[in-house]
């Protein structure tokens, strides 16, 4: 029988879980503001260079963004289902569902790789590396700088989320969690849902408008 996960400075496991969730939410708030800084830059430069931004957005293949959105939303569903299984002590099912989410992450990154390859090939690059003849308007280099910054930072978060889900998934498979203690599964899920939440806003801003 494993040692109780209750740390000595908490009165009860429930209070420890409550503190863990609150702490995670504070961290998620900081992540939201991290991306908001980039969205603020996007907002300012979209205001200043509306034609360049609209034209560049139209030059991006929307279907990639659409598929990636469906992929991430579905992976959020499997993570939520994985947490549901963990609350009922089904660690192996949690691991399988988290595995599906990690697979969805791989698909997401693969599609982004295809997209990035296309951008590099067409010289749709930030700043002085821009060379896409079809759209030559002031501000277009800034669009592509923001595009790679936002999607790149989001991609890094996808990789971090996949790592977290893998670690927690393996521990769930090995029976580390139970109906009495599943907070790590919950927190891992929260991070992945945040990654999805951020993409839900990236998708329209980059691909649709």
């Amino acid at each position: 029988m494993q040692a109780s996960p209750l740390a000595h400075h908490f009165e009860s496991l429930e209070k420890q879980a409550h503190a863990a969730r609150l702490g995670m939410w504070v961290f998620l708030a900081t992540e939201v503001l991290l991306f908001t800084a980039l969205f603020a830059a996007y907002g300012v430069y979209r205001f200043l260079y509306p034609e360049a931004f609209a034209a560049s957005s139209r030059a991006i293949e929307t279907s990639f963004g659409l598929v990636n959105t469906v992929v991430l939303v579905s992976s959020s569903f499997t993570v939520a289902a994985g947490l549901d299984a963990a609350t009922r002590g089904k660690g192996r099912r949690t691991a399988a569902l988290f595995g599906l989410s990690v697979l969805a992450g791989v698909v997401f990154l693969a599609l982004k790789y295809v997209e990035y390859s296309h951008h590099f090939h067409e010289h749709q690059l930030p700043g002085r590396y821009y060379g896409y003849e079809a759209i030559q308007a002031p501000g277009v280099q800034i669009f592509w700088a923001l595009y790679f910054l936002i999607t790149g930072l989001h991609g890094i978060h996808v990789i971090i989320g996949m790592t977290v889900l893998t670690v927690i998934g393996i521990r769930a498979y090995l029976g580390a969690y139970s109906p009495a203690y599943y907070v790590p599964v919950e927190l891992a899920g929260l991070y992945w849902h945040l990654v999805d939440l951020i993409w839900i806003f990236v998708f329209p801003l980059i691909y649709l408008i």
Binding site: K15, A17, T36, F77, H193, L197, P204
Partner: protein, 129 residues
């Protein structure tokens, strides 16, 4: 103690299976995704396209935050933290864009929307006393 009650209630609500709820939310999210994509293809005039797209994104985001992230059935503290972050999102993006939007035109980069029009201002400078 109030804290004991909060922690216990928070824990209890997570225990019942919510799988059907998650499936319903997932289906709604997929529908909204296709909706926003379809509306984008209509190419609504400038301001409307952005407004509709961001509104749908907010609805989708709310669904994820409330149900997948369990804010719907959690106590105040976590909700307060998240809503506070949204307030700061509005401040950061709103005030920064409003800055550029309300500047004296020469203070914006030349050739941009908020700057002096090409060919100069459309009125004579004010007469000096």
């Amino acid at each position: 103690m109030a804290e004991e009650h909060v922690a216990h209630a928070e824990d209890e609500r997570l225990r019942h299976s919510h799988l059907r709820r998650y499936a319903a939310v997932w289906f709604a999210l997929i529908c909204f995704t296709f909706l926003t994509w379809a509306v984008a293809r209509l190419h609504l005039p400038g301001g409307w396209a952005v407004t509709v797209a961001l509104t749908v994104a907010c609805v989708k985001g709310s669904l994820v935050a409330l149900f997948f992230m369990h804010l719907w059935d959690q106590q105040g503290a976590n909700r307060l933290v998240f809503v506070t972050s949204l307030v700061f999102v509005a401040l950061l993006v709103g005030l920064t864009v409003a800055d550029n939007a309300t500047r004296f035109p020469l203070a914006n980069p030349p050739g941009t929307l908020g700057a002096l029009p090409q060919g100069g201002a459309d009125r004579d400078p004010p007469a000096l006393p």
